[in-house]
Structures are given as structure tokens and as C-alpha cells.
């Protein structure tokens, strides 16, 4: 049965995040031939609307308001509730990002709806939409259905492929006026800790360092490799605890969960809590001087050796072949 499905487009640094295009693809699956309506909130975001259409949205609703310039739970919740009220969708898809995680449960609770979070796959079996998601930090998976209310879904970046970009697609872009009342939380300041580079959760390639990197400067060779590959830099908790890098880079049970195409672990032993954050990566490369390190048990390819020797050589070799 064809359904109308909303997708929240997420803007970061003036651009749509890739996960928003993936969310459009997810919405296609859920809509079963119905309409995909993207919602863009912010201060001046209408210029991005066409991108959503090129990636598969049928229409875009633009909600512009100065109170939506930075994300706040209350501001976005109020805006979306008004949009939902106007559009009466059967489903709504978010990225499982800081914003999606913060906002979607609040809206689902308000509307008495079911929400399946952190979805990595969607299948339609005889008219039943079945959502797959990792549980126990990727040590197991579950398949779920939504039984009541508007279907709320958040999708994990990098798992559901975006549709092919098609610049010949066109669709309506409409402005929606909303009234936003008091915000109970106010964002005073945003301190940028991440480098402008690639966002960890959405990165296709991650170069990660552990305690084996030995110092903050020790991350240098990893950063150079990442630069050549267009990769993001991540870390184990070992490296974060030792203050070689910021906790924002931590991957694992109590850090970020990532599923890139390629994960290069340098000087990381492969503790179960680290694996929890990266073991579902498509290809894992381990570089470690200890041949017994557990990371080799889950790596697709391994090099036993000193990372300070191996990593720069790897960078040089990639430079040669990637020109």
C-alpha cells in the first residue's frame, strides 16, 4: 500500500549530510510506491532542496526560521510536529545521528508512535516492512516491525545505499511557515573539536590509532595516510585515555559505532569493547607489531610490524597509485 513518508534532511556546514540521501532511499522502501517528502529546517537552506529531489525525494518542504538556525530539541520538535500535522505521513525517517537520536524519540513519544532506531537494513516481505538493527554492539542483530502509530525510523549512516543522483528529476519546493514558541534549552556556543575533514560516522574509510601510536604526535603519520585516502581519523579508548587524542575520536562500545568500507587499525590490540564499534566494517586492515594481537582475528588483511614504519610506506604507496 502506497504511503507518504517524510525524511528530515540534515544540514551540516551548509551542506546536506550523506545520511540524508540514504534516508531518502530508505523512505522509498518504506513508501511502497508512495510519496517521499523531504523536510529541511534551518535559516537559509532552500538552496539545498533540489539536491534532495535529485536523490529521490518527490517534494521538499522548507521550514526557515531564525530559531532553527542551530538545532535545539524544542525548536525542531515544534517545527516537525506542525509539518507532521499538515502532511499526515505514515512514516518518517531520520539519520541515526546526534540530531536524529535526540529528536526522534521525543516526537515518537509525543505521537504515541513506534520507533525503530539505528536501522541497517529494510526489507519488504509480503507487505510487511521489516527493519534490521544491530543489538549488543553488533554482536547480534534483530528484525523488527512497527505495530502502531506513524512509523518512525532512524538509519545508521553508511548502510543503506543512496539512490543514484538524477539531475533530471524535478519536484515542488514549498516554504512552510511554523510558529516556534519558547525554547527551553538554548545553545550558547558550539566548540568545534573535530577537524573539518570527514565525519567519523559517515566516513567510507577510517584510519584508527591505538595506544601503539604512543603520543599525540604519533597520530601524525595516520593523519597523513587519512589525507591521502580522504579518510577520517579515529581512535581506541586506549589512545583517548592516554590523551593522545580527543574522546570525540573514540570508536567502540562507549564511543562511536562505525561501519566504513575500510577500517585501518594501527597499534590497536582489538579489545572486545573496541570491536563493538567497528567489527561490522566491510574490510578491516590491522597493523600491529604483536602477531598475537586479537585484532588479527577479525582483520581481513594484516601486517605485523612497527606502525611508524608501515604507515608511512603505505601512504607513499597509495600516493603512487591514487594519482
Amino acid at each position: 500500500m502506497a504511503k507518504k513518508v517524510l525524511v528530515l534532511g540534515e544540514v551540516r556546514d551548509g551542506e546536506l549530510r550523506n545520511v540524508s540521501y540514504e534516508a531518502v532511499a530508505a523512505a522509498r522502501e518504506i513508501a511502497e510506491g508512495g510519496e517521499i517528502v523531504s523536510v529541511l529546517c534551518g535559516e537559509s537552506v532552500s538552496g539545498l532542496a533540489d539536491n534532495l529531489i535529485h536523490y529521490g525525494a518527490d517534494r521538499v518542504l522548507v521550514v526557515e526560521d531564525e530559531k532553527l538556525e542551530t538545532y535545539t530539541t524544542d525548536g525542531y520538535a515544534q517545527a516537525l510536529l506542525q509539518v507532521i500535522d499538515q502532511e499526515n505521513p505514515e512514516g518518517i525517517v531520520f539519520g541515526h545521528t546526534a540530531m536524529g537520536k535526540d529528536l526522534s524519540p521525543r516526537l515518537a513519544a509525543k505521537l504515541g508512535s513506534g520507533l525503530v532506531s539505528d536501522v541497517t537494513g529494510i526489507e519488504n516481505t509480503g507487505g510487511n516492512l521489516i527493519y534490521t538493527r544491530p543489538i549488543y554492539s553488533g554482536k547480534a542483530f534483530e528484525k523488527k516491525i512497527i505495530t502502531d502509530g506513524i512509523s518512525f525510523v532512524t538509519i545508521r549512516p553508511n548502510n543503506i545505499a543512496a539512490l543514484e543522483k538524477d539531475e533530471s528529476r524535478s519536484g515542488d519546493v514549498t516554504n512552510v511557515d511554523v510558529s516556534i514558541m519558547d525554547l527551553r534549552t538554548i545553545v550558547k556556543e558550539i566548540v568545534r573539536k573535530t577537524t573539518d575533514g570527514v565525519d567519523l560516522s559517515e566516513a567510507k574509510i577510517i584510519v584508527a590509532g591505538g595506544r601503539g601510536v604512543k603520543s599525540a604526535e604519533g597520530f601524525g603519520p595516520l593523519e597523513e595516510l587519512a589525507e591521502v585516502l580522504g579518510a577520517a581519523v579515529g581512535a581506541s579508548r586506549g589512545a583517548c585515555d592516554a590523551e593522545y587524542c580527543d574522546y570525540g575520536l573514540q570508536i567502540g562500545q562507549t564511543g562511536k559505532v562505525v561501519t566504513p568500507d575500510l577500517y585501518i587499525a594501527c597499534g590497536i590490540s582489538g579489545a572486545i569493547q573496541h570491536l563493538a564499534g567497528m567489527s561490522n566494517s566491510k574490510i578491516i586492515v590491522a597493523i600491529n607489531k604483536d602477531p598475537e594481537a586479537n585484532i588479527f582475528n577479525i582483520a581481513d588483511y594484516g601486517i605485523v610490524g612497527d606502525l611508524f614504519e608501515v604507515v608511512p610506506k603505505l601512504t607513499e604507496e597509495f600516493k603512487k597509485v591514487l594519482v
Binding site: 520507533l115 542483530f141 538554548i186 574522546y247 594484516g302
Partner: protein, 256 residues
């Protein structure tokens, strides 16, 4: 100050997962306080020590969750509440939030602290859902918390960046790693915890019907991912290994 912590009992992070009769097996499994909820307990105790008042730790779960509640009491919480959910089937995060909201309905709450995510179910829904049902604001993934009168200043982690937030009590916050270093229960703490009140409630005691807490989602199946084969450790001269790796990544794995 009336300080509450919502806490979930979960598998130890070291546990391997096995499936039995279509369910995750709990045989011989060690349980712990969800690691993020430990940060919440620690922060709650610090708040109480600074501002006075009382810390109450609340969990919805099986009877055995009393162990984790006792641990929280041994860390320094004052009271614990265990809401037994064993009679209800087909529950999900909606159910948990609904039950907690019913518990909080007649309480004077200044702040509720929870974890940003439970490492087993891993949805991160319960905190924000509960805040909505109680009609109070929430702030997720916090790494710093300061309270001055009714004013609350928070730092939260947003995918590695830091957001400085101002809000006011009452509020619900969820803890991110970095908020604090949870203390270990001391021996005197453990002795004292035995005498601290641990109230046990049933769903009925909260004036809730079973069908009011029925989930909005249903799990059809749980399964283990295909086991990952240990891969290829390269051999030979380092220069050759590096060349081989680059070529494998391009031609065999096709990720570059």
C-alpha cells in the same frame, strides 16, 4: 534537590552472545549497570553532595536487577526502586518510558539522569521519550553539568564537537563518556547499601493496565552475524607487503 537516576541492568561488556530458543541466552552471563548509567549515578551523587537532597535510582526490569540497584546504593545513592516488568510481554522502549512516566507522575522531580544509550538494546530512546511524557526538556550526551539555583549549564558532545547549553530545572539529561569517573563502591558503602531502602513495585501499583504498556514495535527474530573469518596476514619484505596490501584493497576487496 530531588535527584533521580534511571538505570538499566545489562550484560557485561566482555560477554559473548549466544542464542537459545530464538532468544539471547542469559546463561552464565555476568550483569553490570549499563556503563553510561554508571556515569549518571556518579553525577547524581556529586550533585547531592554539592546541593543536598536525595538520590533515588529507578529501574524497570527483572527481579534480579536488585543487584545493580544495590551497587548503585553502595556507590552512594540513597534509595532504589525496582519496577518489575516480568508480567508484561511484547514491551519496547515505549513501554519502559510509559512505566517510568507513571512512576514519576506524583513525584517532585528536579533532575533525572540516565545513560545516553543502553549497550544491549542500544536505541537511546528511553531518556527523550520519558522527558516528553513528563513534559520537561531533555539534553542528551552530556559531558559536563553545573547547577546554580534553577539554572543549569551543560556541555554536550555532538559527534565530537561540544555544545554549551543553558536550561533550567526540572530537566532530564543523558550521560556520555567523559562526564566523570564513576567511583567503585567502598566496603563501608557496600555494608551501608544493605540497609538502604529498595522498594519493589509491580505495574499494577502504578495504576497501569498491561495493554497500556504494550510496545509499538515487535521483534520478529534475533540472530548472530556470520562469523568473521580471520583474514590474511601478509608475509615477506615489508615493501612487498605494503604493495600487496594496496593491490588487494583495490582489486580483491575493491574498497579503494
Amino acid at each position: 534537590m530531588n535527584i533521580y537516576v534511571i538505570l538499566k541492568r545489562t550484560f557485561d561488556t566482555e560477554e559473548k552472545i549466544a542464542i537459545e530458543n530464538g532468544k539471547i541466552s542469559e546463561d552464565g552471563v555476568e550483569f553490570i549497570i549499563n556503563p553510561y548509567d554508571e556515569y549518571a549515578v556518579e553525577e547524581a551523587i556529586k550533585l547531592r553532595d554539592e546541593h543536598g537532597g536525595e538520590v533515588t535510582v529507578v529501574t524497570v526490569g527483572e527481579e534480579e536487577s536488585d543487584k545493580q540497584l544495590r551497587t548503585a546504593l553502595a556507590m552512594g545513592a540513597d534509595k532504589a526502586v525496582l519496577i518489575d516488568d516480568e508480567d508484561v510481554e511484547d514491551g519496547d522502549q515505549f513501554s519502559t518510558a510509559k512505566i517510568l512516566a507513571a512512576y514519576f507522575e506524583d513525584k517532585e522531580v528536579d533532575i533525572i539522569l540516565g545513560g545516553n544509550v543502553a549497550i544491549d538494546g542500544a536505541s537511546g530512546q528511553v531518556g527523550p521519550r520519558l522527558a516528553e511524557l513528563l513534559d520537561i526538556p531533555h539534553v542528551t550526551t552530556i559531558t559536563k553539568l553545573e547547577i546554580d539555583g534553577m539554572d543549569v549549564k551543560i556541555e554536550r558532545d555532538v559527534e565530537g564537537d561540544v555544545e554549551v547549553i543553558e536550561t533550567s530545572l526540572p530537566v532530564l539529561v543523558t550521560a556520555q563518556q567523559g562526564l566523570n569517573e564513576p567511583r567503585y563502591p567502598s566496603l563501608p558503602g557496600i555494608m551501608k547499601a544493605k540497609k538502604k531502602p529498595l522498594e519493589e513495585l509491580e505495574i499494577d501499583d502504578l495504576d497501569l493496565d498491561e495493554d497500556e504498556v504494550e510496545g509499538k514495535t515487535r521483534t520478529l527474530e534475533v540472530y548472530l552475524p556470520p562469523e568473521k573469518q580471520a583474514g590474511k596476514v601478509l608475509e615477506g619484505e615489508l615493501d612487498d607487503q605494503v604493495k600487496e596490501l594496496v593491490s588487494l584493497l583495490r582489486s580483491e576487496a575493491k574498497v579503494i
